[in-house]
């Protein structure tokens, strides 16, 4: 049966798959994770701020994002952003947003909802004596968060944040709905061009599996190291 397969198609398309496809996937993953973490932290701070309206808005946002399938958000956002941009800037025509920018904004917004819950748990895991000690030294609320609470929350939650990033790495393949050549999209294009669907999709699965496995292993090692430090 294997005789019918042509695995050479993989070798021939390697540079396209990795230099174009995987670079895009990794860039999107890294930027989305960073942006999602920053916005997620802001949302978490809003929820814990004690101001009811801010907490309510942040809670609503998180619930909303977590109740929608990601692929739907990507899809809708791609079609809506030009019109939202038009409305915001007041221009006469829908503004142009590239598929990359659109998918990046979507992922940041979507991941922010998940990262915010992780950071909220992280902040709540810090004993109340820590901010009290920081205040007693004269640090302001912002300084207390910046230098005392958030670094500890981030460190405690680092394994969970990285695990969520691995999930994100796999989820970025959903940009195929926008016909963007990420790694899976590139593999899919070659597969259809050369009629080698089984080979290419097998190979793509193997690559996602390998990268995610290695990353998970590294996270577990990191986790045990952090456990020792604490």
């Amino acid at each position: 049966m294997l005789a019918n397969f042509d695995f050479d198609v993989i070798r021939r398309s390697l540079s396209y798959l990795f230099i174009d496809g995987m670079t895009f996937t990794l860039t999107l993953t890294a930027l989305s994770a960073t942006g999602g973490l920053i916005f997620g932290t802001l949302i978490a701070l809003m929820r814990l701020s004690g101001y009811r309206v801010m907490g309510w808005i942040a809670g609503l946002y998180v619930d909303f994002m977590r109740s929608l399938p990601l692929v739907l958000v990507i899809f809708w956002f791609y079609f809506l952003v030009p019109y939202i941009g038009q409305w915001v800037t007041g221009s006469s025509r829908p503004i142009k947003v590239g598929a990359f920018a659109s998918s990046l904004i979507t992922f940041i917004m979507f991941e922010a909802a998940y990262f915010s819950e992780i950071m909220r748990a992280g902040i709540q895991s810090i004993s109340r004596g820590q901010p009290a000690a920081a205040s007693a030294l004269g640090l302001t609320y912002a300084q207390t968060m910046r230098y005392v609470v958030l670094p500890q929350a981030f460190r405690n939650m680092l394994p969970v944040l990285l695990t969520q990033t691995i999930v994100l790495f796999q989820d970025t393949s959903l940009v195929y709905v926008l016909s963007i050549p990420d790694f899976l999209g590139a593999a899919s294009k070659v597969a259809q061009r050369d009629g080698r669907l089984v080979e290419m999709y097998l190979f793509a699965a193997l690559i996602y599996f390998t990268i995610s496995c290695i990353a998970s292993y590294c996270v577990r090692r990191l986790q045990s190291r952090i456990a020792i430090i604490r």
């Binding site: 004993s127 004596g129 820590q130 009290a132 000690a133 920081a134 205040s135 007693a136 030294l137 004269g138 640090l139 302001t140 300084q143 230098y147 005392v148 670094p151 500890q152 460190r155 430090i229 604490r230």
Partner: protein, 243 residues
């Protein structure tokens, strides 16, 4: 230095933790606050630098009113050192950085100056060699001495101690008390919540006894240990001094 006047605090309308507390701490005075657990002594000391809000009365430090929305609380707190029961060192920072953080961010000292000051204070509490370690690598007694050094790095006008030895193993209590005794003898203004009556006998000028949110007794040290006026203070003393 510290004026506490008719302070009332409620956790809920039916639960009053502080009842009409009035006392003061003069410059250079060492005042020990004692009493059974749940008597409100920790709450009172936390009210002094506004870590706990209170509903009624007033507290002033060096002429500045603590419970006034116009008061710059971070600035006021930076001038009053505080030491906690559970040390509360910042576990993600090295010992020296624990001492430098507030010096740099609050007082605006340069890195070099902050480090020099930090090292001097570490030497003073006998922990010069531990500067590059992390808090978790130190024993409880060492951590508490670092916490005292961290507070002193801000050049405070007064120090508040909230049960500084209650979380320590017995053999570590004396190393912390030694540092506090030195501090008291140098004339630092101190308000100390503690059960260490030996410390109180040695350096306190006055002893305040609290029970159920009230200041029951506020007396000179010798009067307090010699013949406490209230029955509750007598019972308390006989219990903790009987062993």
């Amino acid at each position: 230095m510290i004026e506490i006047s008719h302070v009332n605090k409620w956790y809920s309308p039916s639960f009053q933790v502080l009842k009409d507390c009035t006392t003061s701490v003069a410059k250079g005075e060492v005042v020990v606050v004692c009493g059974p657990s749940g008597s409100g002594k920790s709450t009172l000391i936390k009210c002094v630098n506004a870590l706990e809000p209170f509903q009624d009365g007033s507290i002033t430090i060096d002429g500045l009113k603590v419970n006034d929305s116009k008061t710059n609380l971070p600035k006021l707190r930076s001038r009053v050192g505080m030491v906690f029961q559970h040390f509360e060192l910042f576990p993600h920072l090295k010992i020296i950085d624990n001492l430098c953080l507030a010096q740099q961010k609050v007082l605006g000292r340069g890195r070099e100056e902050a480090i020099a000051k930090g090292r001097k204070l570490l030497e003073r509490v006998g922990l010069k060699e531990q500067a590059e370690k992390f808090p978790a690598q130190l024993s409880g007694g060492q951590q508490q001495r670092v916490a005292i050094a961290r507070a002193l790095a801000m050049d405070p006008i007064a120090m508040l101690f909230d049960e500084p030895t209650s979380a320590l193993d017995p053999e570590m209590i004396s190393e912390v008390l030694d540092v506090m005794v030195d501090l008291a003898r140098e004339g630092m203004t101190m308000m100390v919540v503690t059960h260490e009556m030996g410390f109180a006998r040695k350096v306190a000028h006055r002893v305040i006894f609290m029970d159920r949110g009230e200041i029951v007794e506020d007396a000179k040290k010798d009067e307090f240990f010699g013949q406490p006026r209230s029955e509750r203070a007598q019972q308390f003393l006989s219990k903790i001094l009987s062993h």
